[in-house]
Point group: D2
Chain length 185, copies 4
């Protein structure tokens, strides 16, 4: 059996969308989705970030936190914090975003990215309530798998005592068919 | 607190994609996703059925069964079993599909559809390991919510002892950026 | 130089969505988009037919006619005219659709499909104002190419004297950015 | 009858993806698609620029030129030329892009954007072979309309003598159906 390792603490130079820096230690007891991205990475912009936004919205009533990490490893001059700030504004990213600290030895890969051995962007890390890395994915998950993985981590938090499966139904708009389906009344 | 009701047994005239009829009773101990559809319902064809297929594929190693139900409530002559059979073949639907039995009193709504008080197609019913209806949705779920709901029901089955969250990562194909993301090595 | 051949006349058993049968001869002087499909062909349903519908709508003020042809070459029992009629109703197909006549020798391929040497469905045939086949495509075009090809045939009709390029602009809804763009006032 | 006005000459500070600055005067005799965008405008990134790239690729053998114009009217510090250069690299934008010159009076709207009275980004301007504005659209066109408009302008150039409608067909991959369609041989 593979024992998940403790997620390394983040090393950042700045935080946006939050009044104070976030630390993993203070997020114990909650599930954390860490989304590492670069603002000029097409796969992040068109798929990764929108997915992180959907997660933040859908699980907003759960003990789950979505945290962005700007892990610039190329075109450093092009993605400075003023550009990132405008990017978050225009793309309506509301979750907190930390700026990964540069390598003190002058390398291209920033410090947190290195500590997690990330292979590129986007990378999505799922961290459980005990602060352990349970899944780290380079590229984009599909929503079905990601939803399932997050619900599993949440059910572990709860000991599966309370169910998040509700009975909500979508009300049909009218008799007949539209692109959503066909109503019988 | 709302107590989920026991899912009514299905009343069918025929089964496709299975050597013998399925009953809810025999599926106890497993999570069931019941997907009610009509082969000429656009929302079913373009969104509902592909989603049910993704669920069947992704959860194929879990105690979870996807069952289709052909609940024709309009254009009965146009959706007879020969047409359904060809439809399942062309759309590569592999999960078992039952044909809902017609109303003996001659009404439009078939029997199982009526027993579940479904409002139209597609309708997705999530049934837990004890045979209770936990969620019934008319229209199309998003994948994130559906994945989360199914994982929750699976974790209840297991008592959340064993985790389905694995550590799989997507391998980067090459250095540089493509539509999936940017690799750093 | 390749001389386009005259489009063979259609041989049909029935017409839907029109009060009287259509013939190529009576459509001379207009551009014709002939869309050959089967109601149980997934590529037709999800991509080909929606594209033909967009063409019918966009070019509704031009001398251009979209004509459907139901060319069943497999599962004949599953796609009889009652099923086709329900299909057209549910998918809101409004353009005229002819039912291709069966091979009198009992072969699988219907007569018009054979006369055009179509390779399968969907097949889109562009016929110019003189009744000549100018393009025949198996599979799905992209919209940019199809729009360009149709406009070219229309400009030949007109002798390119009158321009269909208008000056319409999309009005911005509000200041700021949304998924359509960013407005400056 | 509305007489199209002559497209104002561009006023730029820099050009990328080209060895020398482009002027409208030197592009006479060709159709020009001018795509005005901002690198942090979501609608430009996800829809407008990909469409301009498709046009550049599809019409590469025609007398048609796609020209980008970076018309920054907000977050000026965030979208400087170093950032734009990295953006074009990561998004694989190959067509020439001019940087619109700032307002000498210190206003937010850059000079070319003002000269064309653009309402925001993306804006697509179609300029005919005589240098006249034939269509200016704020927001995103659909491909069918844009393909038709460009083909119309090209046919005017040629006097509609030579046809760009070829007879290309997509070869079926195999017998049976896939997401593109159903083959009969």
């Amino acid at each position: 059996m593979r024992i998940p390792r403790l997620a390394p603490e983040w090393t950042t130079t700045e935080w946006l969308n939050t009044s104070e820096p976030l630390t993993l230690e203070r997020l114990r007891g909650r599930v954390v989705l860490l989304h590492a991205f670069q603002m000029l990475c097409p796969g992040c912009v068109t798929r990764g970030i929108p997915q992180a936004q959907r997660v933040a919205e859908y699980f907003s009533h759960e003990p789950l936190v979505v945290v962005g990490l700007h892990t610039v490893f190329e075109h450093h001059e092009a993605m400075r914090v003023e550009s990132l700030r405008a990017f978050l504004h225009e793309y309506r990213v509301r979750f907190p975003v930390g700026v990964d600290a540069p390598d003190p030895a002058g390398g291209f890969i920033p410090r947190t990215m290195k500590a997690y051995a990330m292979q590129g962007t986007p990378t999505t890390v799922l961290i459980d309530g005990d602060g352990r890395i349970r899944q780290q994915t380079f590229g984009v998950h599909d929503d079905l798998r990601l939803g399932a993985a997050l619900a599993q981590l949440l059910s572990e938090l709860r000991g599966a005592r309370h169910s998040a499966v509700d009975g909500a139904t979508l009300e049909p708009k009218r008799f007949g068919c539209d692109e959503d389906g066909c109503a019988n009344r």
